[in-house]
């Protein structure tokens, strides 16, 4: 069985520095980590590998630093990692990204059985790449998967979508995206990590290696054009309270207790209650 897992390196912090002049994110200023949902997709693949035997390859599109994430994936148990790293791939929207990822599948593992991704990455959360890729590759697919079982070529999955628990069935080859709450990832073994950085099988590929149409990748292949980018204005002119926690709460109650009581429909005056 051949499994392809797509992983992404995301910033390890929630607030990123950005350059107000260019409107560009200073990605280089942030430490990277493997996207939590993608890590769970990898764990799901490794569990299939443990149970049924499988070759697991991991693919990421991103800057050179994303190689670390692939080495981490190899340390966890993936067989090989491929980094799609090329300035021409930069600036891709989800449409161009899914085209590129589909080309990578064609070039690296055309006889795959299963493709796994995180359902949405922590840094953009569009949740679009998985479903796009399913269409690019013409596969049966389900997003937000939390459980899966494989019997022969038949895959049965459970997922929750808008408050409905669904059990779905499909035949391989197929594509799944998994949520960040299923498939708790195994720890990365230190020895594995050392090996993965020493000799692990991680390869770097360009757009040309994928025989990708330059018109369909990166910024050139993206439908959307950003005409403006900004930090949303903090609109309110609020009151600042500072001091010890106890003093802060006292001041909050003294100045805004009535307002809070009104909003809570409760008497917060502290006077005797009936």
């Amino acid at each position: 069985m051949r499994i392809v897992v797509f992983v992404k390196q995301v910033p390890a912090v929630s607030e990123l520095p950005w350059d107000a002049k260019t409107g560009q994110l200073r990605r280089e200023a942030a430490e990277g980590m493997m996207d939590p949902a993608a890590k769970r997709a990898l764990e799901a693949a490794l569990r299939l590998k443990d149970a049924h035997g499988a070759q697991v390859i991991v693919i990421s599109m991103g800057p050179p630093s994303a190689e670390e994430t692939l080495r981490e994936a190899v340390a966890m148990g993936a067989d090989r990692g491929f980094l799609l790293c090329d300035p021409r791939l930069a600036g891709a929207d989800t449409l161009a990204t899914s085209y590129t990822l589909a080309r990578a599948v064609g070039a690296l593992s055309p006889d795959f059985d299963l493709i796994l991704l995180g359902c949405h990455s922590a840094d953009s959360e569009t949740g679009q790449v998985g479903p796009h890729l399913a269409e690019e590759l013409g596969l049966p697919a389900a997003a937000y998967v939390e459980k899966m079982a494989l019997k022969g070529r038949k895959l049965t999955v459970e997922r929750v979508s808008d408050g409905w628990l669904e059990t779905l069935e499909m035949d391989l080859p197929a594509l799944l995206t998994v949520t960040a709450r299923a498939f708790r990832p195994r720890p990365v073994p230190m020895t594995g990590l050392e090996q993965a950085f020493g000799q692990g099988e991680v390869f770097i590929l360009s757009a040309a290696d994928l025989r990708a149409d330059p018109e369909h990748v990166g910024w050139a292949g993206s439908a959307g054009r950003i005409i403006k980018i900004y930090a949303p204005a903090a609109q309110k002119k609020g009151e600042l309270i500072q001091g010890t926690p106890k003093a802060c709460v006292r001041e909050l109650m003294a100045r805004f207790g009535d307002r809070l009581g009104g909003l809570l429909a409760k008497d917060l005056s502290g006077e005797e209650q009936a």
Binding site: E125, A223, K236
Partner: protein, 332 residues
Amino acid sequence: MNQERAIWVVGDYRNYFQNRVTLQLLAKAGELAAKMDGTVCAVVMGHGVEEWVGEYQAHGAQRIYVMDHPLLSEYLPGLFARALESLARQRRPEIILIGATSFGKELAARAASRLGTGLTADCVDLYLDQEGRFVQVAPAYGGNLLAEIVFPRHRPQMATVRPGAFAEMPHDASARAEIIRLDPPAGLSGDGVRLVSCRRLGYQGEDLENAKVVICGGRGLGSRKKFKNLHELARLLGGEVGATRPVVHADWAEEERLVGQAGKHIKPRLLFSLGVSGAIQHTAGIADPEFTIAVNKNPLAVMMQKADVAIKADAHQVALALIRELKARGSS
């Protein structure tokens, strides 16, 4: 032939009474259509969907495409995407809007790929600029940024829109739409996914979505144990506990409590935001509270800037002090 400029809103009616986003989109589409001399169209796919046709008519749809057929009786994105694609290829809408529910996002992404067009996720606003371009405002780059995006070439222009971004129009029982009934495309089938079973789950955070008081906790609280105090605070205040992405990732709180773009969309009157920095993925899930109290050691945190009252202190300590104070005031 003069090309009609139609704005389509795809009906996502599965959780009709909780999920009003289709109605909100019909209202916004009406505003946009008035400015571009367009037509507001609803698209209703499924089996036994007459009820929703009536609802969309009463909420601003000028035309409704109805594909009501047993082949569409399973609410599956792979299936609906094919039906939507065929309809869009025939009728060529200018814009397709879909609510950013889990179903809507999956459906939209699949339909956009099939149509070879662009799709903007989780828009928080839509407008027509002075040049008449359709501008989609959406969170970007995972930071604290909003991007305004246009599609210069790709048509239709597709967007998913966050629930709560717009207000629905009042129900007008006298409104009449042109209703066009269509068969599904010949040989319609899904993507090979079979629905074995589905059932409505119990608590999935509806209480959080509808709560008048929400206590949101972020990583600034310090630990899982400290986060747990928020439940006590919520009990005293008669509210619900929400959480940020880092808190959910650290397993301090269940995924159902995630407030934000990819989580629950809340609309409380009163919001306590404790130890929350205010990344846009989080704030995008909060519709204008009447009163916000933020607690953070960093007075420059976005959430502190957005608050009516910003308390510069340790969030956990303030939570404890607040619990004591509320108990002392008899709010037990």
